[in-house]
């Protein structure tokens, strides 16, 4: 990938507001692909109609209707562009970037939406009457909207978009077809839409980070298998003998998330006309399966996938090769092997057998080695580029992300130690830990990657405003710090109050006492979240203005699949 930050300065570059057709999506498909897309969209619409009819007594009916409208909208878009001229055969001499653009836009839209919901639920804990007496606005329903929106809406779209970009560049191969990528991206967003609208209506499995019901889960399996096949087919077309390290992580992300998703979501629906289902796993086994899933959703969705991003965009932006190939191997296989044992640390001191808890704790502590190998590898890559970190907020996003990755993984191993967990579990400390990872690591690496990716994707000289990138950086960093400091304080105070005894050997505080003590921290946390949200809005605006008004790069030769600078050794 070329990062054209120092191309000739042209003040009179054309304003590229109209050079892209609105139906670029369909125009880049071949005639055959348009027909298949039409058939698939029609089938989706028919499935929606069937569910709407079968579930007319149930919330499933509403979802059937949403699927129907979604399918019909796709049919409409395809028909609208059906007779556009077909793409020329020359397309094979360039990468297929259109779905990546859509993925970036979708990710930013989900970010703003879901972070707004996050601020709202944070405010609900301090001011519980912000529900306006609406069923859908109570904490229990909005909270999964926030978690699903940021993890799957924002994170998932960002991963899909960047993985499409990285897999093509590092393989020096175009995707084998145009349709698969669109199916994955659009289908995935349908899943997110079903999940989020479902929670508002009370449709949920209650499994944390896997709340979506059976029909949405089945749909996600179809989408995900397509994603996997697309990835494998593109990698198989590579002109590089070796598979680059970023792709290892993206492949682990895709493969393992599929396994986790399928096993955790095996369930029996009440009927084909009901949204509700019952998981096959009972009690203690369900707890183990759930947290095996839950923790590895963190590992393979929020860590492996984003490490894939880091291993590509960080070296590109820093213009330095990855520090150590051996460290990459060590950390990759360490993460892939160790993480899958760690889930039981969510169940310390519970009715889960002691031996499983001990295994979970042991592997969680060992995980620190591959985690810090990755974080160290990233930071050492910056050796020789620290002046760029100072000057370039985009690179600083990624540097701080690597630091937070190191901090959050250390904290994770620490919290997994049983006696530490006895204090931290069930408290806000866990919430703070998750956000150190989610805000500090996942979101910052994504923003850094996007600021690297967006100008090259839309062939702009640079971002619309470097100042706004800087503003976003400081909002994001300040928001993250306020948030996690508030949660450390509240979590530790909470944990200590619950276990404090008086001299008479009775519990010193009632539960409500601990709740009252949380109030100032809940306000601080909502404020920290608000800062982070403002940063994301600034980022979304900056990206939007970049693709509307930033000057185009000077025309270059063909945009690969030619030899390009592949970071790494």
């Amino acid at each position: 990938m070329h990062v054209k930050r120092r191309t000739s300065h042209t003040g009179d570059a054309p304003h590229p507001t109209t050079n892209e057709s609105d139906c670029y999506m369909v125009a880049t498909l071949t005639g055959g692909e348009r027909q298949i897309a039409l058939v698939i969209s029609g089938l989706v619409a028919i499935c929606g109609l069937t569910l709407a009819a079968a579930g007319r007594q149930d919330m499933l009916g509403a979802h059937g209707f949403i699927i129907l409208v979604f399918g019909l909208a796709c049919v409409f878009v395809i028909i609208n562009g059906f007779y556009e001229p077909e793409p020329s055969p020359e397309r094979f001499s360039s990468y297929y970037d259109e779905p990546i653009k859509a993925g970036v836009i979708a990710a930013m839209a989900w970010a703003v939406f879901a972070m707004f919901i996050g601020v709202w639920v944070a405010a609900l804990l301090a001011w519980p009457d912000f529900t306006f007496d609406q069923e859908w606005a109570s904490f229990g329903r909005l909270r999964p909207v926030h978690t699903t929106g940021v993890i799957f809406g924002f994170g998932g779209n960002a991963l899909i978009a960047t993985s499409f970009h990285v897999m093509q560049r590092t393989s020096r191969a175009r995707m084998p077809d145009q349709l698969s990528a669109w199916f994955v991206l659009v289908g995935y967003n349908l899943f997110c839409l079903l999940a989020v609208t479902g929670y508002l209506m009370g449709v949920t499995q209650s499994k944390e980070y896997a709340e979506a019901e059976w029909y949405a889960d089945i749909w996600l399996v179809i989408v995900w298998v397509t994603y996997f096949i697309l990835y494998i087919r593109t990698i198989a077309r590579r002109k590089e003998p070796h598979i680059y390290v970023a792709n290892w992580y993206f492949m682990a992300f895709i493969v393992v998330v599929a396994i986790l998703h399928i096993v955790n979501n095996i369930a029996v629906p009440v009927s084909l006309g009901h949204a509700k289902s019952y998981t096959v796993w009972p009690g203690v086994q369900d707890a183990m399966v759930q947290w095996w899933y839950g923790h590895n959703a963190v590992a393979f969705f929020l860590t492996a996938g984003f490490l894939g991003m880091l291993y590509y965009y960080l070296p590109v932006r820093a213009q330095r090769p990855i520090f150590s190939y051996r460290l990459s191997i060590l950390s990759f296989w360490g993460i892939t092997f160790f993480y899958m044992w760690a889930g039981s640390h969510h169940l310390h001191y519970t009715a889960l057998p002691h031996w499983v808890q001990t295994l979970g704790m042991t592997f969680s502590v060992m995980l620190l080695v591959p985690s810090w190998a990755s974080a160290g590898n990233a930071l050492l890559t910056l050796n020789g580029a620290w002046h760029r970190v100072r000057d370039d907020a985009t690179l600083r996003f990624m540097m701080v992300a690597a630091v937070f990755y190191g901090l959050a993984t250390f904290e994770g191993s620490f919290l997994a130690i049983r006696p530490v967990n006895s204090l931290s579990h069930y408290t806000d400390w866990t919430v703070g830990h998750v956000h150190a990872g989610a805000l500090g690591w996942v979101a910052l690496i994504t923003f850094g990657s996007f600021y690297t990716l967006v100008p090259s994707l839309w062939k702009r000289e640079r971002m619309y405003s470097a100042t706004l990138v800087e503003v976003h950086f400081w909002f994001a960093l300040a928001g993250t710090l306020v948030y996690i400091f508030a949660m450390w304080n509240s979590g530790i105070i909470q944990g200590l109050m619950w276990r404090t005894y008086t001299d008479e050997h009775t519990l010193a505080y009632s539960f409500v006492d601990s709740l009252v003590a949380m109030h100032p921290y809940y306000i601080a946390r909502a404020f920290g979240g608000l800062l982070f949200l403002l940063g994301a809005i600034v980022g979304a605006y900056n990206i939007w203005m970049t693709l509307r008004t930033a000057p185009l790069t000077a025309p270059r030769g063909s945009d690969a699949p030619q030899p390009v600078a592949v970071p790494g050794e």
Binding site: I232, Y278, V284, D286, V512
Partner: protein, 250 residues
């Protein structure tokens, strides 16, 4: 040498994917599969009951409203928790729970043994507006629960799905599910006696929301909350320091 091996592995897409699957499978297999085969994982509790249709419906409302996001149902084996909430939770107590609702966060207190701790009337007031009974509370108000009638006609399907995943509901229970849900919340009706016949004498049959003429979502949720921790006495007897199990509520 290991590096040489890896350089070869990196050249094969399929080989790499298989290696990922192999490496990632071990942990889950070692930790999950034995939970189904080692007998000590779930204790014996011959007196263990399972949810009546009304309690199951209440549990589904608990899930629908996301109560598990702030309330755990898992008392850990720590002294302060046992003193605050009661005997630590046993695996057998959630043996018929699909899914389990152990929770991961206590913005509010643990509910594993909340059954019988407060009166029905307290629960109605608390769910209608928590701040009326606990001024410092930050729990949302759930006013619509008393307004909404409970959907009971599809309860046989729910019980059938529960049976498919392993809860031993009988044909008779499935057949009478809707009637039993009505009966459990309508103590003076003809349907009330069938509930205790089918689900045991311990089953609580009351107008949980205080209104006997109508079965609401409030009835179902309170019936569920009042049975939490009371499906078996095992936790009171099977521990190092046995306690007297709670008296049945009248």
């Amino acid at each position: 040498m290991p590096e040489f091996f890896h350089r070869k592995l990196e050249r094969s897409t399929i080989g790499f994917v298989l290696a990922i699957i192999a490496a990632a499978s071990v942990g889950g297999i070692v930790e999950i599969a034995p939970l189904f085969t080692i007998d000590e994982t779930v204790e014996e509790a011959p007196d263990m009951r399972f949810y009546t249709p009304l309690e199951l419906a209440g549990r589904n409302i608990y899930i629908r409203e996301g109560c598990y996001a702030c309330h755990s149902q898992m008392i850990r084996t720590l002294q302060d928790e046992v003193e605050r909430y009661g005997p630590y939770s046993l695996a057998v107590e959630s043996r018929y729970d699909h899914p389990m609702l152990w929770g991961s966060k206590r913005t509010g207190p643990d509910l594993a043994r909340v059954g019988g701790k407060y009166s029905d009337f307290w629960h109605v007031a608390h769910l209608t507006n928590p701040r009326d009974v606990v001024p410092e509370s930050n729990m949302p108000a759930y006013r619509w629960l008393a307004r909404n009638s409970l959907r009971t006609e599809d309860l046989p399907l729910h019980l059938e799905a529960q049976r498919a995943v392993g809860v031993p509901y009988t044909d008779e229970m499935i057949e009478n599910a809707a009637r039993d849900a009505y009966g459990q919340a309508s103590p003076d009706s003809d349907s009330a006696s069938g509930v205790t016949e089918r689900y045991g004498e311990e089953t609580q049959v009351r107008a949980f929301d205080g209104v006997a003429t109508r079965v609401t979502e409030m009835d179902a949720l309170i019936a569920y909350l009042q049975v939490l921790g009371r499906l078996t006495d095992a936790a009171f007897l099977d521990t190092a320091a046995p306690q007297k199990p709670p008296e049945p509520i009248e």
